[in-house]
Symmetry: C2
DNA sequence: GCTATATTTTCATAATATTGGAACTATGGA
DNA sequence: TCCATAGTTCCAATATTATGAAAATATAGC
């Protein structure tokens, strides 16, 4: 993963409404949710939510499927895992036993 | 963890220089690094870096210890883990076997 | 005290993101 | 074909964030 890809994903999550949307989608797992349901659940106006869903989808953290008049949004867990792996890449220079005892020499 | 705390932490990471700083600190583990070394490593002007380090420290993802004229910055792995736990809280409504087979019904 | 080093703060400019009303598009059913 | 429903796009006002030069602070050693 590239630094810029990660910044895009983190920026997508770094906003109150979008974070709430993502967590709600995580909680709904493979079922996902429609914008209408999300808007009602989180009390966000639909145009505002649509803007945020677009941002999340473009970041890759959320996927979409059109189903007739409805659109199903889902959290993409694999994309999220790639993100956290990138953040922790080469943690403690690879000597993992040091990760287990942080701040030992404070 | 509160939604706002998480947004603050994610915002701290959602910037190219700060993300690079955080990853560098993760890689240096408990040893951490001084601003001077980080600035040289990432080629960021010190005032700009100082601004970003402050943002990271205020988010809780990075801790600081004054050591004479030097300041040691460290990644706070526990804080990071709290953040990811919050993001994945109640994943798939608690039925974890659903998490193992995402997008089954696509 | 003086000097060099390490780091932060101030501040003005520039860039970027968020909001939601109104208008628009697309689909399914009568 | 017409209507209701689901969702998006447009747009202009507002708010937030990043940048780095210059000045300030703080510590160590002489």
């Amino acid at each position: 993963m590239e630094n810029k890809t990660a910044v895009t994903a983190l920026s997508a999550l770094a906003q109150e409404s979008r974070l709430a949307v993502f967590r709600l989608l995580v909680q709904n797992g493979p079922d996902g949710l429609n914008p209408g349901v999300i808007a009602e659940h989180l009390d966000i106006p639909l145009p505002t939510l649509s803007f945020h869903l677009k941002t999340l989808a473009q970041s890759g953290l959320v996927s979409t499927v059109q189903e007739g008049r409805f659109i199903r949004y889902r959290a993409d867990m694999a994309a999220f895992n790639r993100l956290t792996d990138f953040l922790l890449e080469d943690c403690c220079g690879g000597e993992l036993q040091r990760c287990a005892t942080p701040n030992t020499d404070q």
